[in-house]
Symmetry: C2
Subunit: 454 residues, 2 copies
């Protein structure tokens, strides 16, 4: 049973979920299928050259309600899971709200982020089908660190195309790549046909997650030794993230609560999807749980995009995904919350939004960081940029609860700050590290006062 101690609700390691949840099996409507670039619903056979069998199973099986989490993956999860849940008493007090705010701290993983929740099973299954390595694309240090760690855990090589310019020169995350031995390619790169085209046409700063994914996908289609991995968007990644929602559900159940609001920031939305998924059936049964997706105002896929079949990558190589999108060529401005800069939203999240089971709002970085600073100073956790958008909306909702006087229960997750600019290993790997040992003479000088007395 969960332990409640002060503001904290803990699960013991034995209470970590042993099965992921597949919300599609419980939906009263059908999530439209992905379509091949040539226009028919994708099949196992289309995906097999690219993904491990079990990932395809998670992707295409909409019947099974749960999937077993393999022992090896559970063992790796145990390095930081189950994550603790806290009641944000200090923030509630600061806001004067009757709302009850509960957050899980999704840090502590090898990458410092929830992205390890899906990187680890993807690497495990890749190993299991006998491939030698992983190729992927993403938006910087966190995914590189998550995927690099997962690949090294199972003895796989890894190459990651990473958006060259997010906000700083270093954002493409070479530093974390070097820690884990990842071959990090700033995208657009000269490595792939599509990368060279983009580079030539739009310059080195034209990177986006969609471009990075296109490069990785292109490479994976040409190399039978590697499998393609993806940080978010797919049904499989969302399923892997349900470990978060399932833990949250058990933790809230321990104090006899179900959430009135579940709030989360979204890029493509897998983490948010995994958080809300276990609470969807209760909503479908009639309880008015509100799910609120928070977008970066510069990439407003749900709030200003269209629902369409659009490619997951910028080159149009990958399957067409039924989702809310800004179009795969949309090139958002650089913000620190790099993972929020993706042109589309996961099909399941998009379908739930279309069926009006999810609300969406967009916030800018100034208001979000200001809200983040308030949370940090009350609750004592320095936040990652994307967590600040979540917190912005949580505070908004807590203030609305104050106006209405309702004691609503609000659930969210936060991830602590991770910087990807450098690691202590960089100097070592650059060969510029020196060792200095004091000269005997200099020690003698400093110890002169004591000499004769010892």
């Amino acid at each position: 049973m969960a332990t409640i101690t002060g503001n904290r609700i803990s699960l013991s390691p034995r209470e970590m979920p042993s099965r992921w949840y597949n919300v599609e099996a419980d939906l009263p409507f059908k999530v439209p299928p992905m379509m091949s670039p040539s226009g028919y619903p994708v099949t196992r056979r289309d995906l097999e050259p690219l993904f491990p069998r079990q990932v395809i199973e998670h992707e295409l099986n909409s019947e099974s309600r749960t999937f077993n989490i393999p022992k090896e993956v559970r063992q790796a999860y145990l390095h930081w899971r189950p994550t603790p849940m806290f009641r944000a008493h200090a923030l509630e007090k600061e806001l004067g709200t009757p709302a009850k705010l509960f957050y899980k701290v999704e840090g502590g993983s090898p990458s410092g982020s929830y992205e390890s929740n899906t990187a680890i099973p993807q690497a495990f299954y890749t190993k299991k089908v006998g491939a030698k390595g992983i190729v992927s694309g993403g938006a910087g240090g966190v995914w590189i660190s998550a995927m690099g760690h997962a690949a090294s855990l199972f003895g796989l090589t890894s190459r990651i195309y990473s958006v060259r310019k997010v906000n700083s020169e270093d954002a493409w995350g070479d530093a974390y790549g070097r820690v884990w031995g990842v071959d990090v390619q700033p995208s657009p790169s000269e490595n792939t046909r599509f990368g060279r085209l983009e580079f030539k046409k739009k310059g080195s700063d034209s990177g986006s997650i969609a471009t990075a994914l296109a490069e990785a996908y292109e490479e994976a289609t040409l190399n039978p030794d590697v499998k393609f991995a993806i940080p978010t968007l797919m049904g499989s990644t969302l399923i892997h993230q349900t470990v978060v929602g399932l833990e949250a559900q058990r933790q809230l159940a321990a104090i006899d609560k179900t959430p009135d609001y579940v709030i989360g920031s979204i890029g493509a939305g897998s983490h948010f999807g995994g958080l809300i998924a276990p609470f969807v059936p209760t909503r479908l049964q009639g309880r008015d749980t509100r799910f609120v997706a928070v977008e970066e105002a510069s990439t407003p896929s749900l709030t200003r995009g269209v629902y369409a079949q659009e490619s997951a990558d910028a080159a149009g190589l990958m399957p067409q995904v039924p989702m809310y999108t800004l179009g795969r060529e949309y090139s958002p401005p650089g913000v620190l919350a790099g993972a929020m800069r993706y042109h589309g939203v996961a099909p399941i999240v998009s379908a739930l939004y279309k069926e009006q089971h999810i609300n969406a709002v967009a916030h800018g970085q100034i208001e979000s960081y200001s809200a983040g600073l308030m949370f940090t100073r009350s609750e004592g956790i320095i936040l990652s940029p994307h967590a600040m958008y979540t917190v912005k909306e949580v505070i908004e909702q807590a203030l609305r609860s104050k106006l209405s006087g309702r004691e609503e229960t609000i659930l969210f997750t936060v991830t602590p700050s991770v910087t990807s600019e450098s690691t202590p290993y960089d100097l070592l790997l650059d060969g510029v590290l020196n060792d200095e040992r004091p000269e005997e003479a200099s020690l003698k000088k400093s110890l002169a006062r004591f000499i004769g007395r010892n």
Copy 2:
């Protein structure tokens, strides 16, 4: 009871220690007293203007075996404690050693470091005696973050003198100060008489922890509204760190082990002291537990210093501390492990070393970082610089166990990497953050393919 799951040994929040341990009460020899600058053993009265009453009690009371951890402090500890313990199976396998390696992950606190273990009680007691703020000195971002968080938790102001130059321009840690609202002063500063003297005599790069402490101490003696806080060295800080050793002891006991080796890197040595303290009585009773302190080769206080009464600070304002020291004017070269650059070692650790209960070794940064990278790639945790020195010695010992064929049990702690160079809040606080929302026209262009179909 502790839970054992795979490689992990967990304590439930209810098993977190409720009392700190005071090893001095169990020692068969006397730790010599601190002396006032004018030459007599310091008394409560000497310290009262500077420290909260309860900190002085922890410092001077060598009779009580334990001290109660106040409820408010326990509540704050619960944000990340008890910390998990892992068996380093992957590293053992890589080394081919019969030794059993157990490490606690001392991350997850608001500062990402064990320094919060003492910052929180110091801030709590400061509040309790009615002071308005805290002034302290230290070596960069981690202590600033730990002390800043603790001060803000109890509504205190905080000013921290921080070594201006450790290895990079930014190492003095302004970034984390801004997060918590700390007034961070790069030391040597123009704020204090001693700082101005140092600045004039030796230049802005002459900083050291001892200089930073001198500045803070000078300010605390002149301002009755603030109390002085210190990251390490004192008996009180070591006592606060015993929460780590006590947890470790319970975790190992759950699998029926006591350590043959306890290994830890040291600056002034409070964390190491707190880790080993609970295991000292067993050694005094005859079990051959080896405690190994690892120094940065450029600051070899135990391995190359002298045992003497030396001031804790560079100006000689603070009491004379009976310790192994390189002399308070020793100015070590810059290394990333800033907290290891202190001229002396905690009196209790020094006394244990003098009585031959502790061994000491010194390692350089190149060998330590290389060992750190090996640990990181096997165990999946990106380490803080000082943890890499610990790991270097752990690997050395594991290889010696391999030669001897002995299945020795080795205990150590690691802290994950924390960078102090910037935080996401910096841009906000600098007022240079922009919000960009896409123009309708640009969205239309990107969505052109879908228009008419939606």
